[in-house]
């Protein structure tokens, strides 16, 4: 029987004279000219991780300043610049691009069985816009007046030319312009790839959840990012062309900026979260040795989260007094329901599975705990009475750090440990990975739990010094120590990368016994990904192929269709061994 079917390399036959005659370009030329989604994906990830480390160093500098009431002598301007750039780098240049630019670029075409993204040159263009946008933002530090210092939200009128003169702020604005376009192009590219380049049999309802989440994220990006770009263009014209869109003096409305920004900003939170939910949903079934529990429930939960997330933007603006409290509070509280469904499904996947706590799985469990804490405090903050009391305190800081650290760092590095063998054909050291996890896990809770307490004691955000008699000192010191433990954990990761670089342990094509199509390709995959594909008869074709005798028990409305694939003969009970 023929289990394998050749799919000829893309482009072959159409332009035979140009197809597949590779003189592999050398390193720098390859980096500059490649349109291969795998090279671009790795470029994205490397750039994003560099941004992550830079931003982490800024965070450590701030924590040093806050370790004692009077600080260590950092100027207020420097402190403002640091928290602005820390937030901007983490949100715009690390968390989004790492998953949506990097992992999605690398993994999604492989999971749907495509040879590349739909628009490879647009993909390369997106990366270069992202890189130049990142450089633009960092250029602010080199200007005489310093980098932007108005917080990552850049509220008008603080961000207008009256209060934030100088090129640093302008560089920040156009940096978002460039990276915003980059995100939109990647979004279009992913939607086209998922709609048009799926392999036969890979129906929408068989796509891995990671791919589903990336599709939904792409739609969110297409809804949200143009609004941000518009807000930034208005801000720029206010600063330079004398329009008064956000200034009361000229008849403008400052709160319009907040409306525009948060219409982008809250979906952005889910643009940062959904891809990481997808990573967790890929990893947990593999290391529980079970199919994902409640596939459709997870898809609909993702859709519900995405839909609701665009209707909650003004919960960041409760204290402005100009928003419709019941509407935004209701929708914000509702988001807890689909998120709860996801948690239920993740736990249901692990339930009675044969769990092996390899590094990626450990990071996923860490993600569940961290995101649960961040999510629950988010539900608290969705209630206006609590929000009024804790707005702009460290309670909010701790909340969103737990949410974003839980997703972008715990789940993000889970994905990194999970797919690293696929990308480079070599393993990362499991012991060092676990050391990374446990150090980071301890540091994470030590850093952020004291901040909740500080917030409830009334410590406001964005202050560089604080009075000494309020009992905040010890808690701040604990938080600083925690942040340095997190910093140390990322040095362990660098050691791990170095070890894997110097003493490579070959990974093989499928080190984790993975489920989705990317584990069917070689490690690292060849140009245009697949020499051949397995038959696609469920949402985990590679696993079906590797375990033809496994009993799968189809259930649900479409059980009839599910009964035609690998393993179907065993499931039907006629033990004729199809292989």
């Amino acid at each position: 029987m023929t289990l394998l079917q050749q799919r000829p390399p893309a482009g072959a036959g159409d332009h035979p004279e140009h197809a597949e005659h590779h003189d592999e370009p050398t390193f720098i030329v390859k980096w500059l000219t490649s349109t291969d989604h795998k090279v671009i994906g790795i470029n994205y990830m490397v750039t994003a991780i560099v941004m992550f480390y830079l931003s982490g160093v800024m965070a450590l500098a701030m924590r040093v300043q806050l370790s004692s009431p009077s600080g260590v002598g950092m100027s207020l301007q420097t402190y403002n610049e640091l928290f602005t750039m820390h937030g901007s780098l983490m949100l715009y240049l690390f968390a989004g691009p790492f998953a949506f630019g990097g992992l999605a670029n690398y993994i999604v075409p492989m999971q749907v069985g495509a040879p590349d993204m739909a628009f490879p040159r647009l993909n390369a263009f997106s990366y270069w816009l992202y890189l130049t946008g990142s450089i633009t933002m960092l250029l602010g530090f080199l200007t005489s007046t310093g980098a932007a210092a108005f917080g990552w939200v850049a509220y008008a009128p603080l961000s207008t030319s009256t209060y934030s003169p100088g090129p640093g702020a302008d560089l920040w604005i156009i940096s978002l312009f460039l990276t915003g376009f980059s995100a939109v192009f990647t979004g279009v590219n992913l939607v086209a790839t998922i709609f048009y380049l799926r392999a036969p049999g890979m129906t929408m309802w068989r796509m891995p959840i990671f791919t589903w989440n990336m599709l939904v994220t792409a739609l969110l990006i297409l809804i949200a990012f143009p609004v941000l770009t518009a807000a930034m263009v208005f801000l720029w014209t206010d600063r330079h062309l004398g329009t008064h869109i956000y200034t009361v003096a000229g008849g403008g409305v400052p709160v319009l900026y907040q409306n525009l920004f948060w219409f982008f900003g809250h979906p952005e939170v889910y643009i940062l979260a959904l891809p990481y939910f997808g990573i967790a949903t890929e990893i947990i079934p593999v290391f529980s040795r079970k199919p994902v529990f409640g596939y459709k429930g997870l898809v609909f939960a993702t859709l519900a989260i995405a839909a609701l997330s665009t209707g909650v933007w003004a919960h960041h603006m409760f204290t402005t007094g100009t928003v419709l409290l019941p509407f935004f509070s209701l929708l914000s509280l509702l988001i807890a329901v689909p998120t709860g469904v996801k948690f239920f499904n993740w736990i249901g996947t692990m339930w009675r599975g044969q769990i092996s706590f390899k590094t990626p799985m450990l990071f996923c469990v860490g993600f569940l705990l961290a995101f649960l804490m961040g999510g629950l405090t988010g539900v608290m903050l969705a209630s206006p009475p609590i929000d009024f009391a804790t707005h702009d305190t460290y309670f909010v800081v701790a909340h969103f750090h737990q949410v974003l650290f839980g997703t972008a760092v715990f789940a993000g590095f889970a994905g990194f440990y999970f797919w690293y063998p696929k990308m480079f054909g070599r393993m990362l050291h499991d012991g060092l990975g676990k050391a990374h996890f446990w150090t980071m896990f301890v540091g994470f809770w030590l850093t952020y739990l004291p901040q909740y307490v500080l917030g409830l004691h009334g410590m406001p955000r964005r202050i560089a010094t604080y009075p000494s008699g309020l009992g905040w000192t010890a808690l701040n010191m604990a938080s600083t120590v925690g942040s340095f433990i997190i910093g140390a954990s990322f040095l362990i990761m660098l050691v791990n990368l170095w070890v894997s670089w110097r003493r490579p342990v070959p990974a093989g094509d499928n080190p984790w016994d993975g489920h989705a199509l990317e584990w069917f390709a070689s490690s690292p995959p060849v140009h245009h990904n697949f020499e051949k594909l397995p038959p696609i008869r469920s949402e985990r074709p590679t696993w079906d192929f590797n375990h033809p005798d496994a009993r799968t028990i189809p259930h649900g409305r479409h059980a009839e269709h599910e009964l035609v694939g690998a393993g179907a003969s065993a499931a039907r009970g006629d033990d004729t061994t199809g292989a």
Partner: protein, 130 residues
């Protein structure tokens, strides 16, 4: 194509309901306009897909019993490696920096974008360089 079209039309319907509800509850313009934008974002491509999905045979990737044989053949034309995305991005970078450091940066910026656009087109006709 049916699932894809329902997904996008669903986006439009959700934002239609939310937008109408939001407008009559708050009478706040900016949010309503943005929600209408989201309706269009779902409606325009979603309506197109819906229209087509009624008229086309399901593709092999739309059918649970689609086999790899049905998908054999040319999947698409994928360009090889190309310097033009880099050149175009550098041009746009230069144009963007013109907003901060002076309009003279527009000149190299536009030049790079112009050459990159020509480069892209010529390259597509040739079918890629690698």
């Amino acid at each position: 194509m049916k699932v894809e079209s329902r997904l996008l039309v669903g986006v439009a319907l959700f934002f239609l309901v939310t937008g109408v509800g939001y407008w009559f509850w708050s009478y706040e313009q900016s949010g309503t306009v943005m929600l209408i934008g989201a309706v269009l974002l779902g409606m325009v491509p979603g309506g197109y897909y819906l229209w087509w999905s009624q008229r086309m045979k399901p593709r092999p990737e739309d059918r649970p019993d689609g086999t790899l044989e049905e998908g054999a053949g040319v999947i698409g034309a994928f360009p090889g490696s190309s310097i033009w995305p880099f050149v175009m991005a550098m041009g746009l970078f230069s144009c963007a920096l013109a907003a901060v450091f002076g309009l003279w940066l527009l000149a190299p910026g536009f030049a790079a974008v112009f050459f990159a656009a020509i480069g892209y087109t010529v390259e597509s006709r040739r079918g890629g360089t690698v």
